[in-house]
């Protein structure tokens, strides 16, 4: 699936978008896999209270299932307006 990053999550990971192959069944499991992969992911996801997730462009929780998901996005709490 495509995984996209915004704002400081993007800067810490160093990528705006990547394709990830995973057997993780939830967003939380995928985050654990990414954190184990490299330090930059571990740093970006070190405090999940300040990371939000969108599944196919709809806000979701970390326990959301990944089955049939096309695009997963991670970003900090929003600051528009």
């Amino acid at each position: 699936m495509d995984v996209v990053y915004f704002a400081w999550v993007r800067e810490r990971i160093g990528l705006p978008r990547e394709t990830v192959e995973t057997t993780a069944s939830t967003v939380g499991e995928l985050v654990a896999e990414l954190r184990a992969r490299e330090d930059r992911y571990d740093l970006a996801f070190s405090d999940l209270t300040v990371v939000r997730v969108a599944v196919d462009q709809v806000l979701a929780d970390f326990d959301a299932p990944l089955k049939d998901v096309r695009e997963l996005a991670f970003f900090p709490p929003m600051t528009g307006g």
């Binding site: 709809v58 709490p77 929003m78 600051t79």
Partner: protein, 146 residues
């Protein structure tokens, strides 16, 4: 109902005129515009990042929810992205209703939900470097009153 996400500036007066043009059913038109504020005199630039696709959908959903809750003739949300200078317009919302209270409340609602539910992020560049603006706990708490 209308939602626009754009890099370029907008004219608040023209937007409000267009919204009520040819209509006689609107009794109250409330608008809000957000501006780039420089608290310290050090701000050089405010960069607005967003999530194309999700942003428009999230704003449209927030707008639809306002129409469910209040008797509204029309609404408009315009939000800019890209680099902005102090004093520039960031965004606007407008709510038109037959009655004042609904227009005020709907505009307030649109702002509260937009701040915490639409995927925009602000980065301030000043003389000491660049920093992402943190979301405030009060923004999230503001949603609970609706």
């Amino acid at each position: 109902m209308a939602v626009r996400v754009q890099r370029e500036d907008f004219d608040l007066g023209s937007e409000l005129r267009a919204l009520r043009e040819g209509r006689t059913d609107i009794g109250a038109l409330v608008s809000f515009s957000g501006l780039v504020r420089d608290d310290t005199g050090d701000l050089q630039e405010l960069e607005l990042e967003h999530y194309p696709g999700m942003t428009e959908a999230a704003l449209a959903e927030i707008e639809a929810e306002a129409h469910k809750r209040w008797d509204l003739n029309a609404t408009l949300i315009v939000h800019r992205y890209g680099p902005l200078k102090p004093g520039e317009q960031i965004m606007m919302v407008a709510a038109a209703s037959p009655h004042r209270k609904a227009a005020f409340e709907a505009a307030d609602f649109l702002m509260d939900f937009l701040k915490s539910r639409a995927p925009f992020w602000k980065k301030e560049t000043g003389v000491k470097g660049a920093e992402w603006v943190d979301a405030k706990d009060t923004d999230e708490a503001a949603l609970k009153r609706w």
